[in-house]
């Protein structure tokens, strides 16, 4: 079958990385291609046969410079191993979700336990989704790297819940189980289809808006109850604010951030 369009399949630990990698290879901006996620990736049994994310990039405009040879093959490839290497060596299928540096056996085990635990929980909650885990660098260099467990699937809003209640519960239970299994606590974050990043942005906006309001009205602003990590985002966003300071008041789970005007000198 010969398609009139140019396709490129890319494999990487996560969907986002695969897309970035593909765009780099093609030398095209994100607008110039259509992205189809062929496989969101998944854990493997006991670390064997774990699949990386696989995406197909289709160049929309044929007048765009074609760097890559057209790859014409059916999209529906059931077996993930059959991916043609596109002028680049395919990462070994058993490789854990980490691209740049080598992972120690301990780190590999951490990622494996994390993704297996979350998969197990989701399966028992009757939620169909694919799960992958990787390390993310902390914002501050003196902090431990976090384990990010990424959950992808169809209509996972049920996993987030009101005010991310369900997502937080899933994260809390998962980190307890993983911590017990590994015999030490690790910072574990679960994300569902980019929700954390969206929420992070929202919270920063909220922080700035409420700080503005505090300055405007001269009144202390009290935000809705948030989890520790959400409050932290607010505190960090307003850390260097000239006119207000933030503090958390109240008891969990109703602890809230208050934004107060600094005293005028």
């Amino acid at each position: 079958m010969s398609q009139e369009r140019t396709n490129l399949e890319v494999i990487a630990p996560t969907v986002e990385e695969a897309v970035t990698k593909g765009l780099n290879q093609l030398g095209l901006p994100a607008e110039a291609v259509e992205v189809v996620v062929l496989d969101a990736g998944s854990r493997g049994l006991f670390g064997l046969g774990s699949r990386q994310a696989r995406v197909k990039l289709t160049i929309k405009d044929m007048s765009a410079p074609v760097v890559q040879e057209p790859v014409s093959r059916p999209v529906e490839t059931p077996q993930p191993a059959a991916v043609e290497p596109v002028r680049e060596k395919t990462p070994t299928p058993a490789a854990p979700a980490q691209s740049a540096q080598e992972l120690s056996a301990d780190d590999e085990r951490t990622l494996r336990v994390a993704s297996e635990t979350v998969s197990e929980l989701l399966e028992k909650m009757k939620v169909k989704a694919s799960v992958s885990a990787r390390f993310i660098e902390p914002e501050n260099a003196n902090e431990e790297p976090q384990v990010l467990v990424d959950v992808q699937g169809d209509d996972l809003s049920i996993l987030i819940g009101r005010r991310s209640e369900t997502l937080n519960a899933l994260q809390y239970i998962s980190s307890l189980i993983v911590g017990k299994e590994l015999e030490h606590w690790i910072p574990l974050v679960i994300d569902v289809q980019g929700y954390r990043a969206r929420r992070d942005r929202q919270l920063r906006q909220l922080a700035r808006r409420m700080a503005e309001q505090a300055v405007h009205t001269g009144k202390r602003q009290i935000l809705e109850p948030m989890t520790a990590s959400e409050r932290r985002i607010i505190h960090l966003e307003l850390r260097d604010h000239a006119q207000v300071f933030t503090e958390s008041t109240g008891e969990e789970p109703n602890r809230k951030v208050t934004i107060t005007l600094k005293k005028q000198q």
């Binding site: 028992k124 909650m125 939620v127 049920i158 239970i173 307890l176």
Partner: protein
């Protein structure tokens, strides 16, 4: 639902052999009882009931998938 609570409890306790989840039959409202060893009560309840409440939140999702409502009680062993 039962499997979910059973899995979580067994993963958190020191003595998994003492974990038992009982599910009463019934209509759309299902009641689960979780039994664990006395020494493990704290591990499945948590500070201020945090662990038990998180389990309830996840249980709610599992129950909703079956069109049901579920409650969870952690039973104090005698």
């Amino acid at each position: 639902m039962k499997e979910l609570i059973d899995y979580i409890a067994r993963s958190l306790v020191e003595d998994p052999t003492q974990v038992q989840v009982k599910q009463d039959r019934g209509g759309s409202k299902v009641r689960l009882e979780l039994w664990v060893a006395k020494e493990d009560m704290g591990r499945v309840i948590g500070k201020g009931g945090r662990v038990a409440n998180a389990m309830r939140v996840l249980l709610r999702v599992a129950a909703a998938r079956e069109g049901k409502q579920a409650s969870l009680d952690v039973i104090e062993p005698r």
